[in-house]
């Protein structure tokens, strides 16, 4: 049975249920749209490199990059490739891996039922051989090397590596050329069997369909398959750096035209669970808006001093086992950039009070942007963080945002800031 919730002001609704096999289903119909976007996600990403395999003991450390490697190999079967099955209907399909999740998707304007079955079937039917695994190593090796040449990526992951020097997050999501060389078909089966059980997965469908009919299609597909019983997943989190182990600064030389600086701020506080976690996350995002967005006094001051320019940006993100902010940009005055931002970040709570008169403006902007995002099926589906925020959808996020007051920002900042640690990652021209 679908649990339906209406959002009358937004003229939207969502229907959710959990199937007998544990698969969470979230359905969001979009009237007037031509396309349907389906996203199937497992709560398994690059940081989960040490775990107790479903049929074994004890915990095993798997090669770095295995979650992303598995993502690549899911498409290939004994006698066909799932890409081609979607292709027969003209549907587009793709997949992506983050620190904590792996997602598979298709988008189509026709043959929705057939495409849905292709998605469910290819994600639930692993097929790996040593030959097909070895063939993929050349492709992923080139993917890794492509990012080696991307200074923006190097700056971002360099910053994360400094904040999380001991955690798996310091390793690239795709692993390294050396680590993926060690991956075997058996490793992929172990990861698959442990993390791709329906009870660890969700299916979000957004687009042009009737929710009850869609649920019927999903159930008939799932009821025709058998799944092993649910067993608890045992991830080993591995080493966690202490605040003092955060690397304070790194300078690297690369082929760039101007210095690039990425300042990372790692939270060591515990993020609340469920809707409270969503509120905490939104509140801290608004804190960074008040300190740094282009309506702030700080922004104009640093812009006019040519310390920052249009390349300047920032964000705050929460994932399973980590939350951090980044403030980054290109600059011709790297020392002044670091000093000016440190001066703001050192007194963040005072700065916040000083910017209070901008709160309504910043909140207005956040509300408008979030409503605008509902135009996009991809944005609606990709926003969904599953168990992290208690299954909140973009509509729930908007409701939380509308309720946020300035004192919520202060409360979140008071928890986050005193326990946070900072790093400065600088890339200079060669």
């Amino acid at each position: 049975m679908l649990n339906k919730k209406d959002y009358p002001k937004l003229e939207e609704s969502r229907s959710v249920t959990t199937l007998a096999n544990g698969l969470k289903v979230i359905l969001i119909p979009k009237a007037g749209f031509h396309k349907t976007y389906a996203l199937m996600t497992t709560d398994y990403g690059s940081i989960d490199n040490t775990f107790v395999p479903r049929d074994g003991q004890p915990a095993v450390r798997y090669p770095d990059g295995i979650a992303h490697f598995l993502e690549h190999k899911m498409f290939e079967k004994a006698d066909h490739d799932a890409f081609d099955l979607f292709g027969e209907y003209g549907a587009s399909s793709n997949a992506f891996t983050s620190f904590t999740q792996t997602s598979y998707l298709f988008a189509t304007t026709n043959h929705l039922h057939e495409n849905l079955d292709i998605l469910l079937d290819f994600v639930q039917d692993p097929y790996f051989t040593e030959a097909t695994v070895n063939k993929e190593k050349g492709i992923i090796g080139q993917e890794i090397q492509m990012y080696d040449d991307d200074p923006g990526w190097q700056s971002y992951f360099g910053m994360i590596g400094n904040l999380y020097p001991k955690e798996p997050m310091h390793i690239d999501i795709a692993g390294t050329v050396d680590s993926i060389a060690k991956i075997t078909a058996d490793d992929l089966y172990a990861a698959y069997n442990t993390f791709y059980h329906p009870s660890n997965m969700s299916l979000m469908v957004v687009g042009q369909f009737d929710p009850d009919e869609m649920l019927g299609w999903i159930e008939s597909n799932q009821n025709a398959k058998t799944f092993p019983p649910v067993v608890p997943i045992e991830r080993e989190r591995g080493p966690v750096a202490t605040p003092d182990e955060v690397v304070a600064e790194t300078t690297r030389h690369l082929s760039v035209s101007r210095p690039k600086i990425n300042i990372g701020i790692r939270g060591f506080d515990d993020v609340p669970t469920g809707a409270d976690g969503l509120k905490y996350s939104l509140a801290l995002s608004l804190v960074f808006d008040l300190l740094f967005n282009d309506t702030s006094d700080n922004y104009l001051r640093l812009y006019d001093a040519n310390i920052i320019d249009d390349s300047f940006g920032y964000d705050f993100q929460v994932q399973r086992d980590s939350h951090f902010a980044q403030v980054a940009g290109d600059t011709d005055q790297p020392d002044q950039f670091v000093a000016a931002l440190a001066a703001i970040l050192d007194h963040a709570e005072d700065q916040l009070v000083a910017a209070q008169d901008q709160f309504d403006l910043v909140k207005r902007e956040a509300i408008g942007r979030l409503i605008g995002a509902i135009n996009s099926e991809e944005a609606i589906a990709n926003q969904y963080d599953g168990p992290l925020f208690g299954g909140a959808t973009i509509f729930d996020e908007l409701a939380v945002l509308q309720q946020i007051e300035f004192r919520d920002l202060q409360a979140a900042a008071q928890v986050f800031w005193p326990q946070s640690r900072r790093t400065v990652y600088t890339i200079l021209p060669e």
């Binding site: 396309k35 992923i140 492509m146 690369l254 320019d309 390349s311 902007e365 409503i371």
Partner: protein, 426 residues
């Protein structure tokens, strides 16, 4: 409509309740000249910064925040023989907001803001504000310089310079070049601005829950004057060389970027345009394509290997990221895929799949307000409006022989490889 629309100005309104926002796009279209590219890029940057009423970027940003995070930007693009300065703005439809108490709806406020940006920039005494000008010239300088940090972009730019060595306007980035930029004065930009207002073709388009009359009323307030309608062809015509130019450079890169450029003398208005789109999708434009299948999936030589077709300049490009030691092997595979299409070796299933994916992409684009707005410029430039049903029928009728006929017109012009040298190759 309440008032006569000025000559040389067009308006398209897509009234739909599909979206939460109302989107506005204004294109100023001028002939592409090598001198104008840099000046217009700088003008766009200056106009985006401030207005007389909002004299700093902070003041302008606060107004955008007040309009519930209105998105606003000015970009520049090159299309064939045309240069476009494009303003875009999108605001939420206030019916989705709680406690909205502004006097005017957000759409009318957004139109008023765009009017201020276009017609009332910060120009004390007839010149752009000096501080703003210097700062934005510096920022654009930095942005142009930073473009080459993207090695895929750099490889493509150098390839364009090989193909269009006698056509600097075609080879140049849409942001212009640093030499011209360092010489531009406030007077130059003021002149460029006045010429844009007086001479450019103007294409306004709006999408969202608004009526044509409401848009026309808001637009009637803009002091747009009559201008000569630009009837000239948007297509850049050029003669292919019989000899292929090959070049390479050593740079500190881990992965080699190997790019190829071809002449493909078929343009948007040509009868074979749609067949060319199918050809490109089959050759390298989609994950179903021969390049993706053979360079990546079968030979495991690349993560990306794709082609792109420019129907305004009659060019086809191939982009790959590979190990340098595999360069000859990759070139051979790419050549073989083109030869296959030229000799009509294309399976019916590949043709059917590529057509299905183009149809899917076309329908999916209807769900993106930005793509619907930007797609309108093609109609303005080509003066063709093909209804969906007719387009579908044309697509369905394309055969392997049509694709073969297109492929036979493809002629390799240049190859370029940016690589780390032998010492880096594994």
């Amino acid at each position: 409509m309440r008032e006569r629309k000025p000559e040389g100005v067009t308006l398209d309104v897509s009234s739909t309740q599909q979206f939460k926002t109302i989107g506005i796009k204004v294109d100023f279209v001028a002939p592409l000249t090598v001198d104008a590219i840099t000046a217009r890029a700088l003008l766009a940057q200056v106009l985006e910064t401030s207005t007389e009423a909002y004299p700093t970027q902070t003041a302008l940003s606060r107004e955008l925040s007040r309009l519930y995070g209105a998105s606003f930007g000015i970009s520049v693009l090159k299309l064939g023989t045309k240069h476009v300065i494009r303003l875009t703005c999108a605001v939420v439809n206030e019916k989705y907001l709680q406690n909205f108490t502004d006097q005017q709806p957000l759409f009318e406020q957004a139109m008023a803001l765009l009017k201020a940006v276009i017609f009332k920039p910060l120009m004390p005494a007839g010149q752009f504000d000096e501080t703003t000008f210097n700062q934005q010239r510096q920022n654009l300088f930095a942005a142009v310089k930073s473009l080459d940090d993207d090695k895929q972009y750099l490889a493509n730019r150098r390839l364009q310079e090989l193909v269009f060595k006698d056509e600097p306007a075609q080879a140049m980035s849409a942001l212009g070049n640093m030499t011209t930029l360092s010489q531009l004065t406030r007077a130059d930009i003021a002149e460029t601005y006045r010429a844009m207002l007086a001479n450019d073709s103007v294409h306004v388009a709006v999408i969202g829950d608004v009526t044509e009359e409401r848009v026309a009323t808001a637009l009637a307030d803009w002091p747009l004057t009559d201008r000569t309608s630009d009837e000239s062809s948007p297509y850049f015509d050029w003669t292919a060389q019989d000899r292929v130019t090959n070049a390479e450079d050593v740079a500190p890169v881990v992965q080699a970027k190997l790019n190829l450029a071809y002449r493909l003398p078929i343009y948007r208005n040509d009868a074979d345009f749609l067949a060319t789109t199918v050809f490109n999708a089959a050759f390298g434009g989609t994950p179903l394509s021969l390049l993706f299948t053979n360079v990546r999936e079968k030979a495991s030589l690349a993560y990306y290997a794709s082609s792109s077709y420019n129907p305004y300049s009659g060019t086809l490009g191939v982009q790959t990221g590979i190990q340098f030691k595999n360069r000859d092997q990759v070139l051979a595979i790419v050549a073989k895929q083109l030869e296959a299409l030229q000799s009509g070796e294309m399976s019916q299933s590949l043709l059917d799949e590529v057509k299905a994916s183009l149809l899917n992409a076309r329908l999916a684009a209807l769900d993106s307000p930005q793509r619907r707005l930007t797609g309108l410029l093609n109609q303005q430039l080509t003066r063709q409006r093909l209804p969906l049903k007719e387009w579908e029928a044309q697509l369905a009728a394309i055969t392997v022989a049509d694709v073969q006929r297109v492929a036979q017109q493809v002629q390799l012009q240049a190859t370029y490889c940016l690589h780390g040298g032998d010492q880096v190759a594994e």
